[in-house]
Each structure stands twice: as structure tokens, then as C-alpha cells.
Amino acid sequence: MSSAPWREAARALFANPGALVALIVLALLIAAALFGPALNPNDLETLDWRHVAANPGLAHAHWFGTDRLGRDLFVRTLAGARVSMAVGLVAGAVSLGLGLAFGAVAGYVGGRTDDLMMRFIEIMSGLPLIFFVIFMTVIFGRNQLALFLVIGAVGWLTTARIVRGQTLSIRRQEFIEAAVASGAGTPRIILRHVVPNVIGPVIVYATLTVPQIILFESFLSFLGLGVQEPSASLGTLIAEGAGEMEAAPWMLLAPGLFLVALLVALNVFGDGLRDALDSRERR
Amino acid sequence: MSAAGTPTATLALGSLRVSFERGGASVEAVREVSLAIRAGEVLGVVGESGAGKTQAFMATMGLLPPNARASGSVRFEGEEILGSAPRSLNRVRGSKLTMVFQDPLTSLTPHLKIGVQLAEVLVHHRGSTWASAERAALSALERVRVPQAQRRLEQYPHELSGGMRQRVMIGMSLLCEPSLLIADEPTSALDVTVQAQIIDLLRSLRLDSGLSIALVSHDLGVVAGLADRVAVMYAGRIVESAGTAQLLRGPRHPYTALLLQCVPNLRAPRRARMPSLPGSASSAAPLGPGCAFAPRCPRASDRCRAERPELRAIEHAAELACHHPI
């Protein structure tokens, strides 16, 4: 039975109880966000004037209560969760993809190209994130997809640095020399040899940045720059809920707890992933 | 030498077993080793990688990783040290019982000067002052024939060549007048001319000081030039041991004979095919009931595959574990 490196890492991962629990929790949260609203008769935007700022209860089918406008919080929280997860996924993928491409090329090609690319990253790192987001918002308007891309486009800088570092450390290894001697061109070497060998730590970093991305989006939404009405993200819901904290605490608790659960599960899973990849390397 | 070493044995390993817990399974590295080294004696331990020779001595020094299980007996100067707490081990480790490893670069601390690392040994074990320890460090370097010794004390490990670093390691291990020096593949990473110098050095040091040495190597040629006796290991057990001259003249175990054939002899005429052993030694897989060497042995019989030969004492103070010796 062959033991491909990823299979061994998967085995190590599933042997880690913390990571396993985190994975199950994540799966449950995702399932809830996707299928939960189907269980509830209410929808996202309907204003239920009979139950404004109502407590959670079963009788009126508002399981998490309602907000100031009478909208059902169960459905809104889960919808917000969907948005937040989507941000994490899309922005995370953009950040990963851009960072991987940029860092691998800079690290492998080296020389002037590397210098130029790193200067670019350093300049970009110097720009305050918020100004950049505002700038992008002005150009692209309140397009949700554009928002996600922008957030991802900002997060790729550190990924690129990490990928470049990893690439530098394997660039001089013999199997890369062997690939060159075999006649492989630079694109093939980067794609087939560099990327698969650096992707381990990068994926771990990516899973640990997804929480940061979600938080950032929440922060933007809190400021009013992110997702707009009538859509919601966990961030906007928390913003609204924060205002009603004394009178209707469930407006804050529902999205807040969901966010916390999501972030903790992602962090624990990321840690477990790093341990699994590490232990395989430690032969 | 049998398991119950005489009271004068500097080191006596008795039925030593070492295994590792890896991924739920237990991997045996040392299946059973019993040997003794007397004062002033050099024992060569020879075998391919995976034979367990390094692990046996790592167990002796208490340097096994946390997932290792060791059982049996390790007596150093009469005192049982296997399984001792690090605190009591540290009384002998580094002073009376020392070890030199294959790669001196990773054995020396990269960010400390050579002089500091040497002096530290004396300050720690003998309670010397730094000043007298540094003087002793200088004479240690001179003893191992490091040229420009004073200058070397101020240098960092990466500034020295491989041979020089190995001399420093040997010098360090001799600082407290040890009874036993374990040299684990000390020359494998070195050029052949430097290797010859290190072997010369070890030879003269033992003649000077009556030091015992355990020389571990996969190269029988290296061992031949230094050892009084040789123990040949295969798959975690000793299969033959005898005086060096006797072993080289007439090996009794087929594995020893094949190993000997593989040692290059430039003085002999050139042969068409380079001798080698078929397959490879793999001690990781669990062994069958018979002799571990049977799959590769040209003399193997059904009895060999069914029944594992025991290590028995034979004439001339030698030992052999084989059903069909040469």
C-alpha cells in the first residue's frame, strides 16, 4: 500500500482529536448555514410586525428571536453566516492563489525579477488597508463579489512572502537541480516541483488567515463599508446587535456565538493541520 | 565475551533490546545484544545501516528519543545505567563515558566558540575555573594535533573543516579522562586522507592513555586498522565476534565473509564485478522465525529459515550464531 504524502498527512490529521472535533464542528456550522433556513418557515426579509424585537421562542417560529424590524434572526444569522463563510472562502482562495503564484515565481526566478516583485509587495504592504478598500469600493461600487476579491487581494501579500521563503529554501535542493538537468523549463519546475513542495505550510497559513479575513470583513461591515442591506453578514448583524445589547441581547448573541464558534473551529483545525504536516516531515 | 561481564569490564551490555513506537506499531532496532569491553580495549562494531549498532550505543548513553523502549542491562564500570534519570547519567556522560558522532557540524553548537564549548565541559564536570578550563582546552586541542590551536579556540564550528571539527569533538570527549569513548561512524563523513589521520589519531591516543573505545562503523576496513576485537551485527543481533586478526583471516559467518569481500582492497587485482550483497538489510519489518540473514545468505538451508541460530561461544574467545558456518 503506497503512502502518498498527503494520505499520510490526512491520517495524522484524523488521529488528532482536537482537529477532528474542529472539523466536525465546522461541518455542522456549514451544514447549518446551508440547510438551516430551509427548516424554518420564515425568510430573510419579511417583516413580522407582530413580533418586533421578540424573544427567541418556538411558538412563533422565531427560534433566535427577531430584530428591530421584525425580521427573523435565525434565518438572518444563518444567511449572514453564509456570507461570512463565502468571504472567507473566496478571499482566502484569491489570497492563496495570488500569493502562491507571486511568491513561487519571485523565489524561484530570483535576481532582478525577485527584487522588483519584492519591492512591489513592500510598497503594497505600506498602504493602509482601509484606504485601499475604500478606494476599491469607490471604483467598483457596492458589488459583493468585488468586495470579496478586494479583501483577498489585500491578504495575498503575506502569503506571497511565506511562499517565497519556502521556495528559497527548496530552490537549492537536489531534486530541483535534477529537474533542471532533466530538461524541465521554469514553468514546469515551478508548477510540478516547487508548488507541491511548498504548499504544506502555505495551506496551514491560509486556514489560519481565513478567520482574519472573516473578522476583517466583519469589521468593514461594522464600519458600514462592507455588505449592504438587505443582505447581512455576521459582521453587520453583530453591529446591529451591539446597538441593542441591553434591550435585546439575543440580537448580538446569535451572530456573535456563531462567529466565535466558526473562528475557533477554524483556528483549531489550522493548528491540527500544521501538526499533521509537521509530524510527517519529522521522519 | 558473555553477557555477565567480569567486574573489570568497562562496559557490559546484557540482553539489550531497543524498540520504537511508531504509528501504533513497535519497530525493533536492537533485538538482543550482549557484549563487554574491557579497560584499554577497542571493540569494533560493524554492520550495515539499520543493524542497530548506533541504537545500542544511544541506549548506553541514554540518548534515545522519547518513543523508544529499552530493556536489558547496561553496566558501566560495574554500575547499572540503563533507565537512569538524566541527573545521575550526567555524572558519567561527557566525562567518563563519552561519544563522538558522525557529523561533527551538528554535534557542535554553531553559535559558541570552540574554546567556550571545550572549557564548558570542564567547568561543568570538574568545577574548574574558566581560566584553567581554557588552558586545558588548549592542551586538548594540541593533544589531538589541531594546528594553530590557539587560533582555533577563538573560531566558530562552521569556520573549521570537517576533519578539524572531528578532532575537536574527540578532544572534547577526552577532556575528563574518560574510561570509554564511543565513536559512532567518526570518519564516514570525511575524506579518505583525513579519515586515515583520524584513525591514526585514535590509535595513538589509546596507546597513550589506555582508553577503551567502541568503534561503530559500516566499513570493516576502518575498523580493522584500530580494533582489537570486532562484533558483527545484523538485524539487531550480534552474529559473530572474534579478535580482529582472526576475523579477517577466517570469518566464520557468511555475512562477515561477504562484508569482507565488499571491503575494497586496492592491493588485490581488479575484479570484473564489484562484490556486493543482494537486496538490503531491513530491520523494520518483523522477522520470521528463522535466521534474519537467511534471505540473503548463499548457504541458507530450511533449518536456517525455520530456526534462528543462537549466539554461542566458540574457540579462541569468539562467538558465532550460525547453523552452517564456514
Partner: protein, 342 residues
């Protein structure tokens, strides 16, 4: 000027030089490798032998000289033209595990040269070629699914050789191919290389610090010290009658397995035997003292003079040049005409 494909000389290296900053890692290296010939290159660490292997394939840049493959200078080609020649010269590295991509299975690693040089062939033929090559290097076909970390050192090296042979090269450069392996397994690999040469007519440049292994395989042997070739001779001549003091020191340093260590008898009449005398009695040839100089500290004139038991004042004055001294035998030593060895 391209020479015809039928010429016996495949590779001609002319005055090759490689610099690492100020330090000349290789200087004035010239030699030839002919069809189906094995040329051994012997040297210790820091001699530049691995640099030479890499310089021939342009894995490190050369500062001076030419590397002519069938007449065409590889050092002057642009990268695209160079890649067209790559299938002719392949390399096997020292560390078998490090030279294989840990994330690629054996099958994928062997498929890569085919994908690069023969992209037109289909998956079925690729699989067949891989299976044939695995068999040729003595590995089971089922290993194509395995990963490097699952294989032994000897098996990894066989995979490395198989990968190098996939494009059908006419010259195989072997950089210390057996040094990481146990003595008992080295013979398997060396015999495999000899078989490949006999069956496929591949020329081999065999680089090693291990004289015994070089001796087995080579028709001609070169000795390199501090980046310069110091002696070239047919194999038997080099081992029977070496002419350079460094070569002699190398040979003397190889332990003699037939002579066991005999401690001097403390009760003997002549109890004044010193350790030094005992040590030198074991070797009758005057060996080299000290160690090879490390990068940048090479002595002026002959690089070996600091360690040479025969050095004189003239040896510091100028760098000795490789001069013929007999039947296909050349040596770079100022005192070559004077020194007569026993």
C-alpha cells in the same frame, strides 16, 4: 564547428574554469570522454569535482573555457537550444533521496523526462517504457506507485539512474552515486552502471572520492585537487604506478583490510616503540599531512605544496601544468622528472 556523429569523442572539455567570487573552484580543466567509455574523476571534498559535474550541465555558470558536445559548445547556447541537448547528457546525484521529488511517485518521476522530450507518446506507451526501465535497473514494476521515502537508499539510487536513462542519454555523469550507500550495496549500483554501459553503450563520467569504486568501473582515471587536474592515466597504470604525490597519498590512505591492528607488545625488548612509530609503520608510503585548503586559501604555485612530502622552493613559484609522461599518462608536477618512487 560540429563534428560528425560518428566521431569517437562525445565530450571535449577545454580549459574550463568556474569562479565562486574570488575563488577559482575549477581552473584550466581539459579532458575528453569517448563513446561507451568510463572516465573516473577522483578527488576529495573541495576539489571541485561536484562543481565540474554541475558546470558541464550548466547547473552552475562557467567563467572560462568550453564544453564541446559533438563539437558544439554547450556553454554558448541559449537556454532553448541547450534544452534540446539535455537528453544527451544526464546526471545521477549523490544523495538518492534528496534528488527525488518527495511529492512525486516513482512512476511520475520517471514519466517526467518522457513528457519533456517525447510529449507525443501516449499514456500506454509511457507506462510501458517506465515498466521496461524499472526492470532494466532491477526494480519491481510495482514500485512505480511508491514514494521515495518508502524506498531504501539503494532502491532510490536505482530510480535516480532510471530517471537519468529515460531520455536515452549518450553520456551519464555520476556525481558520487554510491557514497551515501552501505559498502555492501555499492557493488549493486556499480555493477548496474557497468551493465548499462555494456548493453546501451552509454559513456560514463564517474566522479567519486572512493578509489576502489572508481577502479572497478573506469577505463581512464583523472585526479583532481583544488580545482585542477593533477594526473590522468589509464586505470591500471594509475593504480599500479601513480606519479603525482597527491595520488600516491590518496592510495596510501585507503585502509588495507588484510592488515589488522596489532598493538605493540609492552613486554617486548624494544619497549621504546612510540605511538607515532607504530602508526607510520602501518603505512610505508609517505602520506599527505594536513587537509585540503578551503575555498580562497589555496597556496600559490602548486596547490598541493603545503601537504606534499616532496615539495621544494620551485613548487611555490608557478602552477604546474599537465604534461604527458608516457603512454596516455599525464601529470602536473614540477618534479615529475626527478621523483622516482619505490
Amino acid at each position: 564547428m560540429p563534428s560528425s556523429d560518428l566521431s569517437p569523442v562525445l565530450l571535449r572539455v577545454e580549459a574550463l574554469g568556474v569562479d565562486f567570487g574570488d575563488h577559482r573552484a575549477l581552473d584550466a580543466v581539459s579532458f575528453e570522454v569517448g563513446r561507451a567509455e568510463t572516465v573516473g574523476l577522483v578527488g576529495e571534498s573541495g576539489s571541485g569535482k561536484s562543481t565540474l559535474a554541475r558546470a558541464l550541465l550548466r547547473l552552475v555558470p562557467a567563467a572560462r573555457g568550453a564544453v564541446r558536445w559533438l563539437g558544439e559548445d554547450l556553454l554558448r547556447l541559449d537556454s532553448r537550444a541547450l534544452r534540446r541537448h539535455r537528453h544527451e547528457l544526464q546526471i545521477v546525484f549523490q544523495d538518492p533521496l534528496a534528488s527525488l521529488d518527495p511529492r512525486m511517485s516513482v512512476g511520475a518521476a520517471l514519466a517526467e523526462p518522457l513528457r519533456i522530450f517525447e510529449p507525443a507518446i501516449g499514456a500506454r506507451e509511457r507506462r510501458a517504457r517506465i515498466a521496461a526501465m524499472l526492470e532494466r535497473v532491477g526494480l519491481s514494476e510495482s514500485l512505480h506507485r511508491r514514494y521515495p521515502h518508502e524506498l531504501s537508499g539503494g532502491q532510490c539510487q536505482r530510480v535516480g539512474i532510471a530517471r537519468a536513462m529515460m531520455p536515452g542519454p549518450r553520456l551519464l555523469i555520476c556525481d558520487e552515486p554510491v557514497s551515501s550507500l552501505d559498502v555492501s550495496v555499492q557493488g549493486q549500483i556499480v555493477n548496474l552502471l557497468a551493465d548499462l554501459q555494456r548493453d546501451l553503450g552509454t559513456a560514463i563520467l564517474f566522479i567519486s572520492h572512493n578509489l576502489a569504486v572508481v577502479r572497478h568501473l573506469s577505463h581512464r582515471v583523472m585526479v583532481i585537487y583544488c580545482g585542477r587536474i593533477v594526473e590522468v592515466a589509464p586505470c591500471d597504470a594509475l593504480f599500479a604506478a601513480p606519479l603525482h604525490p597527491y595520488t600516491r597519498a590518496l592510495l596510501a590512505a585507503v585502509p588495507d583490510p588484510t592488515r589488522a591492528f596489532e598493538p605493540p607488545d609492552p613486554d617486548a625488548v624494544d619497549a621504546q616503540i612510540t605511538p607515532a612509530a607504530a602508526a607510520s609503520a602501518a603505512r610505508s608510503v609517505r602520506g599527505a599531512t594536513g587537509e585540503a585548503p578551503r575555498g580562497g586559501q589555496v597556496p600559490s604555485g602548486c596547490a598541493f605544496r603545503d601537504r606534499c612530502p616532496y615539495a621544494e622552493a620551485a613548487c611555490a613559484a608557478s602552477v604546474p601544468v599537465l604534461e604527458p609522461v608516457g603512454d596516455a599518462h599525464a601529470v602536473a608536477c614540477h618534479r615529475r622528472r626527478e621523483l622516482v618512487y619505490s
